[in-house]
C-alpha cells in the first residue's frame, strides 16, 4: 500500500507524470511539518471536504503544505478518469489498484459498474454500435449476474435518451452518475487507498448526534444538521422543563385526585374527594405571547355519597368531560365542558363499579371499567352497548389501529396489559408487568404507554415495537395511587406524582454519555403540601404541567423563562379564592443551566 501512495505523492487530480517531478521539487522546497498519523488522517479528511465543496485549489495547497496526499496516486488517477469519462484510463488505473482491494472478488463488481456506466453513456449519446461492443467485450466476459446483463441489453431498444433514463432509473452522464459511481466504488477499498465518501461530514454528524443524545432536556424539533457546530448542543432547561410554580388553584375543598388537560389544551379538569369536578380555562396571555394562565370556568357536582371523583376523561374533540366516581361507582356522568350541561348519566347495573374510563376517537363511544370485573363499551347516544366479561380493569386507554378500528388497552389486576377490539371481539395480551399496575397513560401520538407499577416506578412501553423502552425510577413509593403523563413536542417528557409531595419530571431520551445503562433520575418540583397523585401535561402549551395533590390544591408549573414572563404580565394576581401566584413554589431541581459561549 505504501508503494501505491508513493506512486503519486502530491498528485491530486491525475495531472500526470510530467507535473509530479515539479511538484516533488516544490515539496522539497516547502519545509514539511512533521505530522502524526492522526494528523495526516485529519488532513486527508479535510482535503476531501474542501474538494467536495469545490475549493480544489485550497485542497491542493493543503496537500502540498502538509506533504500528505489525499489518496494514492492510482486512486486519484482513477477518480479523475471516471469524472472525465476516460474509460480506458479508468480501467488501467483500476488494474493497478487491484492489489489494494479488501477482497479480490470485488474487482469484477467494480469492473462491471465501470463498464455499465460506459455502456449507458454510449447509449445515451446514441452510439449504439460502440455500446454493443462494450456489452459484448466488457460486460459479458465478467460473467456476473445474468439478470443485470439482461436488463442492460434490453435497454438497447430504447428510442432515445429520455426513455433510457426513465427505464433504467439512471440519471444520465450529466446527472451526477459519475460521482455516484465513484462513491459506490469507494467501499471496496481500504481508507488508506480511497477515502470513504464525505468522511468529514459523516464525522461531524456523528458528533452532533452524540451531543443530542446527551442533551438532558432535548426539546427542539431542529434536525441534527441544523444545529450549530460551534458549541456542544444542549437545550436550555429554562426554556423547556417546568421548574416554577406559576399558579396555585385552591378552589377544591378536599384532596384533589385527578387533573387532566383537554386534548386541545384549552381546558383543565380537576376532581377529588369533595365530589366536585372543576373545569378551568387555559388562556395564553397575549403579551408576552406564550405565557398561559388558568382561570376558573365551571364547577360540576356529582352525588355526595359517591366518595369523590376518581377519574376524569376528555373526549378527543375536547367537547365532553366524563367523570367516574370513587365508591358506589355505578354511574358515570358526561358533561359538555363549555356550558356545563349534563349530557348523559350512564348506569347499567346496581352492582357495577366503574372507576376508570377512556374515550374512543369518535368522541361518542367510550369504555368504562373497574376492578370488580365490569368492562363496558358505551356511547353518549345509545348508552350501554357491549360488555366484555370477567376482566378486572385497573386502567384504560384507546389506540387507533392500522385497519381503521380502535383497540382498547386495558391493564388488569393480573398485571397484564391487553388489547381488546370490541368490534371484532378479538383480544390479545401485549405486555406483562412484574408488579401490580396502578395506572396507565398513553402519549398523544399513541406510540408510548406510561405504566405506573406499584413500588417500581413508571415503565414506558413502545406500542409499535411492543417492548419496554424505559424504566423510570426516583419517585417515592407508598400505598396510594399515582398517575403519570407523557408530554413534550416529541413525547420526550414524562411526569408523575410522588408520595413525598413532589412532582417528578424525566426526560426519557437522555442517555448517559458513556452509553451505560444509568438510572434516569428525575427533576423534582417542590411546593405541594401533600402527596401528589396526578399530573397532566398541556398538549398545546408544551412545558405547562398541572399537578393535583392531597393538600387540596392544583399547581400549574411552567418553564422558568415562560413563568417569568407570566409573572411580569399579570399584576392583579387572579385565581379562584384570590390565591394568585405562589412564590414559594420554586423548584429544587438539579438542573444546571447551560449557557452557549459568547460569540468572539
Amino acid at each position: 500500500l505504501l508503494e501505491l501512495m508513493e506512486n503519486g505523492s502530491g498528485c491530486l487530480n491525475g495531472s500526470g507524470a510530467a507535473d509530479s517531478a515539479e511538484k516533488a521539487q516544490q515539496q522539497q522546497q516547502c519545509p514539511a511539518v512533521q505530522l502524526s498519523e492522526r494528523n495526516r488522517e485529519a488532513v486527508r479528511v479535510i482535503g476531501q471536504y474542501l474538494r467536495e465543496l469545490g475549493l480544489a485549489r485550497s485542497a491542493e495547497a493543503l496537500v502540498l503544505e502538509a506533504g500528505c496526499p489525499l489518496e494514492s496516486g492510482a486512486a486519484a488517477q482513477f477518480r479523475s478518469s471516471v469524472l472525465l469519462g476516460d474509460w480506458d484510463g479508468a480501467e488501467a488505473s483500476l488494474a493497478s489498484l487491484r492489489r489494494a482491494l479488501w477482497r479480490e472478488s470485488s474487482w469484477s463488481e467494480i469492473a462491471f459498474r465501470l463498464a455499465e456506466q460506459r455502456y449507458l453513456e454510449l447509449l445515451e449519446s446514441g452510439a449504439h454500435i460502440a455500446a454493443l461492443c462494450v456489452l459484448r467485450g466488457k460486460l459479458t466476459p465478467l460473467q456476473l449476474s445474468p439478470d443485470r446483463l439482461h436488463r442492460l441489453s434490453g435497454l438497447i431498444m430504447c428510442s432515445g435518451p429520455e426513455e433510457l433514463r426513465q427505464l433504467s432509473g439512471w440519471s444520465g452522464a450529466a446527472g451526477g452518475t459519475r460521482q455516484a459511481l465513484l462513491d459506490s466504488v469507494e467501499q471496496f477499498f481500504p481508507p488508506s487507498v480511497m477515502l470513504p465518501p464525505k468522511r468529514l461530514s459523516v464525522l461531524l454528524d456523528q458528533a452532533v448526534r452524540a451531543q443530542v443524545s446527551r442533551c438532558r432536556h432535548h426539546n427542539t424539533s431542529l434536525s441534527p444538521d441544523q444545529l450549530t457546530l460551534l458549541a456542544d448542543h444542549s437545550c436550555q432547561a429554562a426554556a423547556s422543563v417546568p421548574s416554577v410554580c406559576s399558579q396555585v388553584l385552591d378552589a377544591h375543598q378536599d384532596e384533589v385526585h385527578v387533573c387532566q388537560f383537554s386534548p386541545n389544551g384549552r381546558f383543565l379538569a380537576t376532581g377529588g374527594r369533595d365530589c366536585v369536578a372543576i373545569v378551568w380555562l387555559v388562556e395564553a396571555a397575549a403579551n408576552p405571547p406564550g405565557a398561559p394562565r388558568v382561570r376558573h370556568h365551571l364547577t360540576l357536582r356529582i352525588g355526595e355519597e359517591r366518595g369523590g371523583v376518581a377519574w376524569l376523561a376528555w373526549s378527543p374533540d375536547s367537547r365532553l368531560l366524563l367523570a367516574c366516581a370513587a365508591e358506589e361507582a355505578t354511574e358515570v356522568i358526561v358533561w359538555e365542558a363549555e356550558t356545563g350541561d349534563c349530557i348523559k348519566k350512564l348506569k347499567h347495573r346496581d352492582e357495577d363499579s366503574l372507576t376508570t374510563a377512556a374515550w374512543l376517537p369518535d368522541s361518542n363511544h367510550f369504555v368504562v371499567g373497574g376492578n370488580r370485573g365490569h368492562f363496558y363499551l358505551c356511547s353518549v347516544d345509545v348508552g350501554f352497548e357491549k360488555a366484555w366479561d370477567f376482566i378486572r380493569v385497573v386502567a384504560l386507554a384507546t389506540r387507533r389501529e392500522d385497519d381503521g378500528g380502535t383497540a382498547v388497552l386495558a391493564a388488569d389486576t393480573f398485571a397484564r396489559i391487553r388489547r381488546y377490539r370490541f368490534d371484532t371481539m378479538q383480544d390479545e395480551t401485549l405486555f406483562r408487568e412484574d408488579g401490580p399496575v396502578m395506572s396507565m397513560s398513553i402519549s398523544q401520538d399513541e406510540t408510548l404507554l406510561a405504566v405506573c407499577v406499584a413500588s417500581a416506578g413508571v415503565h414506558l412501553w413502545d406500542l409499535r415495537l411492543r417492548v419496554c423502552r424505559r424504566r423510570l425510577h426516583g419517585l417515592t413509593h407508598g400505598a396510594y395511587l399515582l398517575h403519570a403523563s407523557i408530554g413534550g413536542p416529541n413525547q420526550d417528557f414524562v411526569a408523575s406524582g410522588s408520595h413525598d409531595a413532589r412532582v417528578c419530571v424525566w426526560h426519557r431520551g437522555c442517555q448517559a454519555g458513556d452509553g451505560a445503562q444509568q438510572h434516569l433520575l428525575p427533576d423534582k418540583l417542590s411546593g405541594h403540601g401533600g402527596l401528589v397523585s396526578c399530573v397532566s401535561w398541556n398538549p398545546r402549551h408544551h412545558g405547562m404541567l398541572a399537578s393535583a395533590s392531597d393538600d387540596c390544591t392544583v399547581r400549574i408549573w411552567l418553564p422558568a423563562s415562560l413563568a417569568a414572563a407570566a409573572q411580569a404580565a399579570s399584576a392583579d394576581g387572579t385565581g379562584p379564592g384570590g390565591a394568585g401566584f405562589s412564590s414559594n413554589g420554586c423548584c429544587s431541581s438539579t438542573v444546571s443551566k447551560h449557557q452557549p459561549p459568547p460569540l468572539l
Binding site: D250, Q253, D254, E255, H257, R273, G307, G308, V309, A310, W311, A325, A326, E327, T355, N371, G373, D389, F390, I391, R392, T413, F414, R416, R418, D427, T429, P436, M438, A454, A479, Y480, L481, G529, S533, D551, C552
Partner: protein, 128 residues
Amino acid sequence: KSPEFNASYSMGRLHIEHMGGERVFSCANCDCPLTNRQQLISTRFTGATGRAFLFNRVVNLDTSELQDRVMLTGRHMVRDVSCRKCKTKLGWVYEFATEESQQYKEGKIILERALINESEGFPDPVKD
C-alpha cells in the same frame, strides 16, 4: 386552608389490589378484596374470634410491629394484619417460628373466619 383530619379512607386513592379467583375472600367490614380459595392452605386454625384460615398470599393488608407471642403450637414472632381500607384488625402474619415443625407457616397469613366474607368470583378468561 388545611382539611380536618379525615378518618374515612377513599377507594379512589388507596391502591387496592385484587387477586381474582373463583371464590374471593374480602374484609367483612368494608368488602375490600383480600385473597381467594386457591391461596387457602388450612382451615384448622384458631384466632380470637374462633376459627381462622391460613393463607399463602393476601393483599391489601397493613402490618403492625413485630410481636413475640406464645401460642398453642409454640413461640412465634408475628405481626398483626389489618384491612388497608378500613383498618379493621383481621388476623396476623407469621414471620418467624422458633420450632422447626412450625416453620412452614413463615410468611403465611392467618385471617379470622368471622372477620372475612367469602363470595363468588369468576375464573380468568384469558388462556395464554
